[in-house]
């Protein structure tokens, strides 16, 4: 039956993965981060053991049986020792032929020294059995008509074990239970359920009380099912609280009904939290799983689960009331009742629960309070305290990641494609609490006129993990890595959401002295994150205030946030300067843009295509560095010229100023916005194709990437200053006095007909009369 279960789960996972592949690429948002976690990531995966701590118990028993106190050595030897290692020891029990760490392992040395041949034989046979079992579970295994080599070898192990039991079984050997359990496993593996059952009936009384009883009982239930004794199998599964197996053999998918049944009979069943977690996952991720209904079959009936959870949370005789209460709180929040959810968590801290759940409860409470509490100094202090705690927990999680995972995270080039999701719970939770638009802590702080704090928390939530990981997305950590391909990273949770991690810091990547990676291909981070979006909505003076706090922190809290945020000088000075351009405060823009490295504009995902002071002729831009700065400087210069007593100079400057101002919102929109920085391939000079239209930031109604929807030119500045530019243009034409200067002004505006008719005798008009040989040029 295990095989059938695995098959079904594998099929379901395949269905997931197919969907994930077919619909990609997904752009994940902060709201997609998970927050309902009863169990650590991966714990609800398919490889669920009903005795989750079996390996720990097994090691402890070996320690007791062999008198070896070094449990880590035992764990290493029995779980990491290879078949070859154990074969060598079995053939030469004096440990004369083993090699490497295995030869020096304390447990191995003790077995050899004490001539514990029964243990050595058992461990060798067990390792051999495990190797063969894995081979049989492999997709490469061929299950033909005849007995496979694996079956023949398992049969041989079985006979060997039986022989040992016939000789030593009655002597009450300390290893007898282990041999018996191995015999059962072999018998099942060679496809003999009746013989396995017979063995179980004989061994049941002897295994009673042993750590192997539960596992052996599971084999017995499978045999009963295969023998058609479904009721007996059902009874065992019910007593064990094995919901998945019950679903399978009863052919029902009513989760609430089975949850209630198991809760009544086996309230401590390890499958209960797993099923609840699967349900919570499904609810929280329903955009991906709605059609599949795979993660939890009771998805549609979560109200019934809520009732069960609330009732169980009140039942004082239950040992896992915290788990039920937490589940109820999550379900209430899912039903959009955060206040009720918060109430559900009252008193939960007094209930016994494991450290992970304790952590989850605290996170959920913080999340709910961010939704429900009024913003105040006291709440802000509470929030900072909670963020500090989450940060310390995140650091612990980071240390627990494998070197391979850490290396991958060091090289991720964007968070938005989901590579980081479901890797570190604290990171996910922090993003979910802080970043979502409108409801996130950062946005609520901004609305409550605490914009600097809002930017600090958003910066931390967005960039903290990258700083912790030493990721090169954060400029000061960049060391010019070259392209490296990482293979598909399967989601640790075995749920959809896996994605490729493709590091493409290619050869054209050079490291700047002060800022961004000058990757001219694509900067996947700086302008594609939620903190940037928040900043982009703020006024220049607010951003200046934040920059001031970056450079001169007011207190320890500021310093703490600064250490956890992205403070790149090029990045922030450019943003502030650009906001000043947007607000037409050109002298202030110059002040900030002067601090930006000249080459920085290469990594903004923008093409500064046009000369900002050209209008009709659309002169290509030749300014490869400092485009925005040079624009601002020229506008400052023009402001001065506009005050000239010479009307021609003043009027001409006014005209150029008005063209620059209008262009900065229109043809040269990249002067005042990063609007299209979050998309890769839009050429602003080309008409957009229908499928690209959604990428046009100003008008995007892009459903799956709110980043694009939110990045937009601030319309109020655009309307106001375009109008101002038009007025100024009229004023300029009135101010200019000489015909020649007027002729040049009309030429600049492309009004050739007026130019030639009104100022015929000017050199400019004569020039155009000579070069314009097509009527269309006069029509303009």
């Amino acid at each position: 039956m295990k095989t059938s279960k695995l098959f079904i789960l594998a099929s379901l996972l395949l269905a997931f993965s197919v969907q994930a592949l077919a619909c990609g690429p997904w752009y994940y948002t902060a709201e997609d981060n998970d927050i309902y976690r009863l169990l650590p990531y991966g714990a609800e995966g398919p490889a669920l053991s009903l005795s989750p701590d079996f390996s720990g118990q097994n090691v402890a028993l070996w320690s007791q049986q062999t008198k070896c106190k070094d449990t880590e050595a035992i764990r290493q030897a029995i779980y990491n020792g290879t078949l070859d290692d154990w074969n060598r020891l079995y053939l030469h029990p004096d440990n004369s032929t083993t090699t490497g760490w295995f030869a020096n392992n304390a447990f191995v040395k003790q077995l050899a020294k004490r001539h514990d041949n029964d243990a050595i034989k058992l461990l060798y046979l067990s390792k051999q059995y495990e190797t063969l079992r894995q081979a049989k579970a492999s997709p490469w295994y061929y299950n033909g008509r005849q007995k496979s080599r694996e079956d023949i070898q398992i049969q041989s192990i079985y006979e060997n074990v039986q022989h040992w039991l016939s000789v030593n079984g009655k002597k009450k050997s300390k290893y007898a239970d282990r041999y018996r359990f191995l015999a059962m496993k072999c018998c099942w593996a060679i496809g003999n359920p009746q013989a396995t059952m017979d063995l179980w009936e004989t061994l049941k009384p002897q295994l009673h009380g042993s750590i192997f009883y539960s596992e052996a009982e599971d084999y017995a239930a499978r045999c009963l099912y295969h023998l058609g004794r479904t009721k007996e199998a059902d009874n065992i599964y019910l007593q064990r609280g094995d919901i998945r197996s019950l679903m399978l053999i009863r052919k029902v998918d009513n989760l609430p009904q089975l949850l209630q049944l198991v809760l009544d009979i086996a309230p401590d069943s390890p499958t209960l939290p797993v099923e609840l977690q699967r349900l919570l996952f499904s609810l929280e991720n329903n955009p991906f799983t709605l059609e599949n209904k795979v993660c939890a079959d009771g998805y549609e009936d979560h109200e019934a689960v809520l009732r069960i959870a609330q009732q169980a949370a009140k039942t004082t005789i239950l040992s896992r009331r915290a788990m039920w209460s937490y589940t109820a709180a999550c379900l209430l929040d899912y039903n959009n009742k955060p206040a009720a959810a918060l109430q559900q968590l009252e008193g939960i801290d007094k209930l016994p629960c494991d450290p992970f759940l304790q952590q989850s409860i605290r996170v959920l409470r913080f999340y709910l309070r961010c939704k429900t509490d009024k913003m105040s100094d006291a709440f802000e202090q509470y929030a900072i305290g909670e963020l500090q705690w989450m940060d310390s927990e995140l650091q612990k999680e980071w240390k627990q990641l494998s070197p391979k995972e850490r290396k991958m995270y060091q090289h991720l080039e964007s968070v938005q494609t989901g590579n980081l999701y479901r890797s570190c719970f604290m990171y996910d939770a922090m993003r979910r609490i802080v970043l979502p638009d409108s409801i996130g802590l950062a946005y609520r702080l901004a609305l409550a006129e605490r914009p600097v704090r809002a930017l600090q928390v958003a910066n931390m939530a967005e960039n903290r993990f990258f700083i912790l990981a030493g990721n090169t997305l954060i400029p000061n950590l960049r060391k010019g890595d070259r392209g490296t391909l990482y293979q598909w990273k399967s989601d640790v949770n075995q749920h959809p959401g896996f994605a490729t991690a493709w590091c493409s810091w290619m050869d054209d990547d050079t490291t700047g002295s002060r800022g961004c990676a000058y990757n001219i291909n694509w900067n996947g981070h700086d302008y594609c994150n939620w903190m940037f979006l928040l900043a982009d909505k703020m006024e220049a003076k607010t951003l200046e205030a934040y920059r001031e706090r970056q450079l001169h922190p007011l207190d320890a809290t500021d310093r703490w946030f600064n250490e956890r945020g992205y403070l790149g000088s090029d990045y922030w000075e450019d943003i502030i300067g650009t906001h000043h351009l947007r607000e037409c405060n050109y002298p202030a823009a110059v002040e900030h843009l002067r601090l930006v490295s000249p080459a920085y504009q290469q990594c903004m995902n923008l093409s500064f295509e046009l000369d900002p002071f050209s209008l009709v002729d659309k002169i290509p831009n030749q300014d490869k560095t400092g485009y925005r700065l040079h624009f601002a400087e020229r506008m400052v210069e023009l402001q001065k010229l506009m005050k000239s007593s010479d009307p021609d100079v003043s009027g001409t400057a006014m005209l150029e100023y008005s063209i620059g101002m209008r262009n900065s919102y229109d043809l040269c929109w990249y002067l005042t916005t990063y609007g299209r920085s979050s998309v890769k391939f839009v050429d602003p000079l080309q008409p957009l194709k229908p499928y690209e239209y959604a990428y046009r930031a100003e008008e995007a109604e892009w459903s799956w990437n709110p980043l694009l929807r939110l990045v937009a030119v601030n319309q109020k500045y655009k309307s106001r200053h375009t109008l101002e530019a038009n007025v100024l243009q009229q004023k300029a034409l009135k101010t200019i006095k000489s015909d020649e200067a007027k002729a040049q002004a009309y030429a600049r505006l492309g009004k050739y007909e007026t130019l030639v008719k009104r100022y015929t005798r000017t050199a400019t008009a004569q020039h155009y009369a000579r070069v314009c040989d097509e009527w269309r040029m006069y029509r303009l």
């Binding site: 594998a10 993965s17 997709p139 490469w140 033909g144």
Partner: protein, 332 residues
């Protein structure tokens, strides 16, 4: 005189090379006659078994399984996994040499991340297990089929080298299929020398662009074959077997000339009847006898120990060819 000698030698060389190129194909009959079995169920009809006897077929090339990327088949932790394994409803004929064939997809090769030794061992073990289960004779050759490209060539050849390393000590020959476009890429005078196989099998079918409505016959058209073969010397393909098509199908196009679907030969008459009503056109294609013979003539001389293989063992298709037609192909 000086001018004369300047032009004489290149002229002679040109004449010699032209003579060398105008070969007339293999004239020595092949040593072995083979046929492919390429269905997912091995359950040959009495007619098919008799057909093999009548034509003295002494080698049956049976496709055992495909190798695909693990991710594609629901095993993301495996780079490649077996798929579409042949189900055996009869034992393989013990009185005939059976050559197991494994089809490896290019995507599987792409997924293979340097783990050549491990996957070579898994492929060999699965072939061993399947053959041990269904064939009483001993396996003397295995064949690998892969539509490798320039990008996947190196990885595929490294995998083949590992398979060689496992099978050569057991005196098992490793042969590999060679498509005409692959042959074309091996641009030297003895192209197969650079391949890691003991023998190669030149596939003389699926030579045209199937989905192009202007294609005359995508199964085999000597005019499509010619450009690939004319550059080779007569002895260019040593240790090379050759396969020809004895099957047919219909290729359906819509009103705009876009490819719709393939129709198997069994359903072809019915589909042809309805094509006007449905507003589609169907191009009927067969491994045409004249085309096969002409292609045989285009081939460089092949060694006398070669096998001529027909694709594939299917009574519905084979019955369209006369006894003499089949003998003509096998005898050249």
């Amino acid at each position: 005189m000086r001018h004369f000698s300047t032009y004489l030698f290149p002229l002679l060389a040109l004449l010699l090379s032209l003579t060398g190129c105008s070969h007339k194909g293999p004239v020595v009959p092949p040593a072995h006659r083979g046929v492919y079995h390429w269905k997912t169920t091995y359950n040959p009809t009495a007619w098919e078994l008799q057909w093999m006897k009548d034509h003295h077929v002494d080698r049956l090339y049976i496709k055992l399984f495909d190798v695909k990327p693990g991710k594609e088949e629901g095993f993301p932790e495996w780079a490649m996994v077996p798929a579409a394994s042949t189900e055996f409803r009869q034992a393989l004929p013990a009185d005939m040499e059976v050559v197991p064939v494994v089809y490896i997809t290019v995507d599987a090769i792409r997924a293979l991340n340097h783990d050549y030794g491990n996957y070579a061992a898994l492929i060999v073990k699965r072939i061993d297990d399947m053959m041990a289960d269904h064939y009483e004779g001993s396996v003397r050759e295995i064949q690998l089929d892969c539509d490798w490209t320039r990008q996947t060539e190196q990885a595929y050849f490294l995998l083949v080298s590992e398979i060689n390393r496992l099978l050569h000590p057991r005196h098992i020959t490793v042969s590999g299929t060679l498509r005409l476009h692959q042959l074309h890429k091996l641009d030297n005078s003895h192209p197969t020398d650079s391949l890691p196989f003991d023998r190669t099998l030149l596939m003389c079918y699926n030579t045209g662009a199937l989905q192009n409505p202007t294609t005359h016959n995508s199964i085999l058209d000597p005019d499509d074959v010619k450009p690939y073969l004319r550059q080779y010397r007569p002895d260019a393909l040593p240790r090379c077997d050759v396969a020809f098509p004895v099957y047919g199908w219909g290729v359906e196009f819509d009103k705009e000339g876009r490819f719709n679907r393939l129709i198997n030969s069994q359903n072809l008459p019915d589909a042809q009847q309805k094509q006007k009503a449905r507003g589609v056109t169907i191009r009927e294609e067969w491994g045409d006898m004249r085309a096969i013979v002409r292609t045989q003539e285009l081939l460089p001389a092949l060694d006398s120990n070669r096998t001529t293989i027909l694709y594939h063992l299917d009574s519905l298709n084979l019955s369209k060819y006369s006894y003499e037609d089949i003998e003509t192909i096998y005898s050249r």
